[in-house]
């Protein structure tokens, strides 16, 4: 375990991301109703929850891709709702994000993908760019794949290249959207170790959004469980594991029956089959 948070120490450290009483809806359908959470400097914060609870939407709010209907989202102490687009871009230079589908630029090879942020934001000489890119690629085990195009990579390799790109500018905040989805056990272990090493060695504040409970529990300092547009439980992974709340118990044990419905609302199966109505 990566050392669960000391509550006294946690209260003293600065919140890098502070989401307060956020309401957000899409086409009249509420996604968040008074959601609040914090990610502390230097910690790994896990945001867990069943599919469709708005975890990715929360990340989009934290990165100013969308804006809350009400409430405050602060990153590095700055209210995202009040920033101009130029200052939002400045703020994003301090962040790195790993996308669920990697989002590598398809017209560039692996090397150029990782070099892209350096070329756009720095005037570093080419030998230094090369050293940085190869170092980051080496960290994810793909230095030998530098000349491959994204279409030639497996899903796990693309995720690792995207991670190398996300860390090439040495961000202060690193956000992972479902980093473990579709990975084989070896790639999953590599990504898991990398997240932990980046946090411990460089002190990068880390937010991981996922529904892989056991992987997250092994590295997170602080965990939040989302359901029905709110945070329904929070604490260390051990706190969540020992929680008696039905929703937490259901999620941690993967039980289909419980407060979080497995089935999308629908009429009774027998009556729908017999009536012949519907699709």
């Amino acid at each position: 375990m990566a050392g669960q948070a000391d509550p006294g120490q946690a209260a003293a450290v600065e919140a890098i991301v502070d989401v307060r009483d956020v309401h957000y809806s899409i086409a009249g359908r509420p996604i968040f109703s008074g959601l609040s959470l914090k990610a502390m400097r230097g910690e790994i914060t896990a945001v867990m929850g069943p599919s469709g609870t708005g975890k990715t939407t929360l990340l989009r709010l934290m990165t100013a891709q969308i804006y809350a209907d009400s409430g405050v989202v602060e990153v590095f102490g700055q209210n995202l709702g009040e920033l101009s687009s130029r200052r939002t871009f400045e703020l994003r230079k301090r962040m790195g994000m790993l996308f669920q589908n990697s989002a590598l630029l398809s017209d560039m090879d692996v090397y150029e993908n990782v070099a892209f942020p350096l070329r756009e934001h720095t005037d570093l000489p080419e030998p230094l760019v090369r050293n940085l890119v190869l170092t980051k690629l080496n960290a994810v085990g793909l230095r030998g794949a530098a000349e491959l195009m994204p279409a030639e990579l497996s899903g796990g390799m693309a995720r690792r290249v995207a991670l190398a790109r996300a860390i090439v500018m040495d961000p202060e905040l690193l956000i992972y959207d479902e980093p473990f989805t579709g990975l084989d056990p070896i790639a999953l272990g590599v990504i898991l170790r990398l997240i932990q090493q980046l946090n411990q060695a460089l002190g990068i504040t880390t937010i991981v959004v996922s529904h892989d409970v056991h992987e997250l529990a092994s590295i997170a300092h602080r965990s939040y469980l989302m359901a029905a547009g709110q945070i329904v439980a929070q604490g260390t992974p051990a706190d969540l594991a020992e929680s008696t709340l039905p929703i937490v118990r259901q999620f941690m044990s993967g039980d289909p029956d419980g407060p979080a419905p497995f089935h999308y609302p629908a009429p009774d199966l027998r009556s729908e089959l017999l009536s012949g109505d519907g699709p």
Partner: protein
């Protein structure tokens, strides 16, 4: 009553779309100035939009010129003035067929490629990833492609015209027996700078509108396979219709 409501809704939607496109254009033009500081981005797109369209433009130009010579020869023969074939072919190609057909071909080849490329970048989160890396996709992706299309169109039109005249010469002079000297001298003495200017202005206007529609539709495509397909269709339809509409207006303006 319901017809009036539907009509009003259509008008409002159309106005909203035009307004949205105007804002997009203004934002993109601001970025165009910055992109010119990195010409390699634009040169790559001139190759993508222009260079890769060369074969289809040259083939179409050749056949258009050949058809033009055949029809022109048949028509002029009735009046005993086949020596005017070079002038007639040049005028038709420079003023009308060159710019219009190049624009239609451009919309079908380069326009659809631009829309689907940008749309797929949207669907696969590449544009969002750029934004997260503090790189504005309007500057890095959209503006260079717009400028590449805008610059390519007059160049492609010029190629189309030249190859078209070559096709007309092959059919008119080599096959139909029109005098070679008359073919070129009539063209030289009768085509004036205004005719050439009209073609250049048209190609620039068509390049502007076709490139704008292509990048706009791609950038705002629904991030799904169906959405990208629909955006590509809209690009071809809107570019073609607007090209023909603007062609009429510009022709009227130059008379």
């Amino acid at each position: 009553m319901s017809t009036a409501v539907a009509r009003d809704g259509f008008v409002l939607r159309s106005l909203a779309r035009i307004g949205h496109m105007a804002i997009f254009l203004a934002q993109m033009l601001i970025q165009c100035g910055r992109v010119l500081a990195r010409p390699v981005l634009v040169i790559n797109q001139i190759y993508n939009a222009g260079g890769r369209s060369l074969v289809i433009i040259m083939l179409s130009g050749l056949f258009t010129g050949m058809v033009l010579a055949l029809l022109g020869f048949t028509l002029l023969q009735r009046f005993g003035s086949t020596e005017a074939l070079g002038f007639a072919a040049a005028l038709a190609l420079l003023k009308e067929l060159g710019p219009v057909l190049t624009a239609l071909l451009f919309a079908g080849r380069a326009g659809t490629a631009l829309t689907s490329e940008i749309g797929l970048m949207r669907a696969t989160d590449q544009l969002t990833a750029m934004q997260m890396m503090a790189v504005d996709p309007l500057r890095y992706v959209v503006a260079p492609r717009f400028l590449g299309g805008l610059i390519s169109m007059p160049l492609l039109t010029a190629v189309y015209d030249v190859i078209g005249l070559f096709g007309a010469h092959v059919v008119g002079v080599r096959m139909m027996g029109v005098d070679n000297g008359s073919f070129w001298s009539q063209m030289q003495s009768s085509v004036d700078l205004r005719d050439v200017t009209e073609g250049i202005v048209k190609s620039l206007v068509f390049g502007f509108i076709c490139s704008l529609i292509a990048v706009y539709e791609g950038y705002h495509a629904e991030p799904t396979a169906e959405g990208v397909g629909l955006a590509t269709t809209r690009t071809v339809v809107a570019s073609s219709v607007l090209t023909l509409l603007l062609d009429y207006m510009l022709t009227a303006a130059f008379i």
